[in-house]
């Protein structure tokens, strides 16, 4: 095995081990979407009627509609938490250690990113299992097809997080990220309501939702769960990933980056 793959396997393995040893983190990641699914969606079902909209071929309940959005939310929280742990130095030490490995920095950062996505995917499947027990199911093959979609959406969100960690000098606390990143990104998307619903209340909001990369992440997952490929959404997700990864690598570049302000 080459030194590259060995290092990547080690980074993934470390993250997986940390994941199984930190049960609270796992439970917290699971409780959040479950509250949305079992409480919010149940209450909202009566208020919101959904017409047939692709990829659905029949009327669906609201709980079924919001599952892909909640999956993307799990990945969004995961990405932001990784970013924050970097900003707050909790992981900065281990990051410094990682960057002294004799491998290209982009490879190390990409491996780190992939490790975070890997953990988020484990969380997503745990969530899907509980949803299944609750009676919300998808075509059996949909669970398999979702995997590449989750990889794409996870990489995109992880790259955004890595970019935030490399650029933002300080975020007041997690509430700051909630207010300025997670809430706007989540609410201005198709996670909770389809675009046509949004258009009924405001044209502008609808357009913002349509542009939001998070919407595309949600749609890639939604279509994949029904064995369909949403090329347009996947294209936007890939593009956003590439853009933010490039920005993050720039931010971690030892010659220009923000790391020097941080260490000081």
């Amino acid at each position: 095995m080459s030194a590259y793959l060995r290092a990547m396997a080690a980074i993934l393995g470390r993250e997986a081990l940390r994941f199984v040893t930190q049960r609270e983190r796992f439970l917290a990641a699971l409780v959040r979407p479950l509250v949305w699914l079992l409480v919010f969606a149940a209450g909202f079902r009566a208020a919101l009627g959904l017409s047939i909209t692709p990829p659905y071929q029949t009327y669906i309940t609201y709980e079924v509609y919001i599952v892909p959005g909640l999956i993307a939310m799990i990945q969004l929280f995961n990405a932001m938490q990784s970013a924050l742990s970097l900003v707050y130095d909790r992981e900065m030490g281990s990051m410094r250690l990682l960057l002294t490995a004799p491998l290209p920095r982009w490879w190390l950062l990409f491996s780190k990113l992939l490790a975070g996505v890997f953990v988020s995917i484990l969380q997503v499947y745990a969530f899907l299992a509980i949803a299944w027990i609750y009676g919300i199911t998808f075509p059996p093959m949909g669970y398999v097809m979702a995997l590449p979609a989750l990889l794409a959406s996870g990489l995109m969100l992880g790259a955004v997080g890595l970019f935030l960690a490399s650029t933002i000098r300080q975020l007041e606390n997690f509430a700051g990220v909630m207010n300025f990143v997670i809430f706007p990104v989540f609410f201005l998307s198709t996670a909770l309501y389809p675009l046509w619903r949004m258009a009924e209340s405001s044209r502008l909001l609808r357009d913002i939702c349509a542009w939001n990369p998070f919407t595309h992440a949600v749609e890639v997952i939604r279509f994949a769960l029904y064995l369909r490929l949403n090329i347009e959404a996947l294209g936007w997700v890939t593009l956003t990933f590439a853009l933010f990864l490039a920005l993050a690598l720039w931010g971690f570049d030892p010659a220009r980056g923000i790391m020097n302000r941080k260490a000081h």
Binding site: A9, R18, R96, L97, L99, A101, P102, A255, M259
Partner: protein, 239 residues
């Protein structure tokens, strides 16, 4: 060939100059103590040596490899112990070492062999299975030194490695690292503000306000008044 060569290194944070034309060498087997009060520029120097960021002026080379031009070859020769602990407390001692070994391209079997060797070297062989959280501060530090030796570096950098440790643990770690230089021929750069960690035969670099004020054998620099008094007087005069 010098294990570490720093030539005319300068660095500034915006308008504040943190390092001004710093030059020095550390030879194989040499224990070099970098003495400086808080804020002298030690951490900046370490950040540059470990390539956390790069300086616009000056040059760093490790075993003849330029850190800027050939970072991977230079980093492969370097073991680092950061001031802040970088261990995974929830993982076992052996797992911590295995992770680091893999980052440096060692196979699982090779990493396992070397983990045994480095733990033995730091008198910690019996701790391999323990959870890192169960170790006391002194042992955690020793584990970090053991880890830094996994890839058999020729240069060992330690940034205030005894901060927060009691007298006994400090003495043990200082002795261990002196022995690594003496017996294994590893070049050591040891940043500290505690003069009692320096042995008479060590090389001393006194860094103050980003500049090297004095360099030479500890015994010579100390003269009759002792290293501590000399260091205090020197950094006070300038202050």
């Amino acid at each position: 060939m010098a294990a570490l060569e720093v030539a005319d290194l300068s660095f500034r944070y915006g308008a504040k100059e943190a390092l001004k034309g710093v030059s020095f060498r550390v030879q194989p087997g040499e224990f070099c103590a970098l003495l400086g009060p808080n804020g002298a520029g030690k951490s900046t120097l370490f950040a540059l040596l470990t390539r956390l960021f790069v300086a616009r002026q000056g040059r760093i080379s490790v075993m003849g490899r330029d850190l800027q031009a050939d970072p991977r070859a230079a980093l492969a020769q370097m073991g680092v112990v950061f001031q802040q602990s970088t261990l995974d407390l929830d993982l076992s001692v052996a797992r911590n070492l295995a992770y680091f070994g893999a980052l440096h391209g060692l196979s699982r079997r090779e990493a396992q062999l070397r983990a045994g060797e480095v733990l033995e070297r730091l008198d910690m062989a019996e701790r391999a299975r323990e959870k890192t959280r169960a170790l006391n501060g002194g042992h955690r530090r020793r584990l970090e030194i053991a880890r830094a030796l996994m890839h058999r570096p020729r240069l060992l950098l330690l940034d205030e490695p005894t901060v927060g440790l009691d007298a006994r643990a400090r003495a043990a770690i200082t002795a261990h690292v002196h022995d690594l230089a003496r017996s294994d021929g590893i070049a050591v750069l040891w940043a500290t503000h505690l003069v009692d960690e320096v042995a008479p035969e060590d090389t001393v670099l006194i860094l103050h306000r980003g500049q090297i004020l004095e360099t030479g054998r500890a015994a010579r620099i100390a003269g009759d008044r002792g290293l501590a008094t000399h260091f205090m007087a020197l950094t006070e005069e300038i202050a």
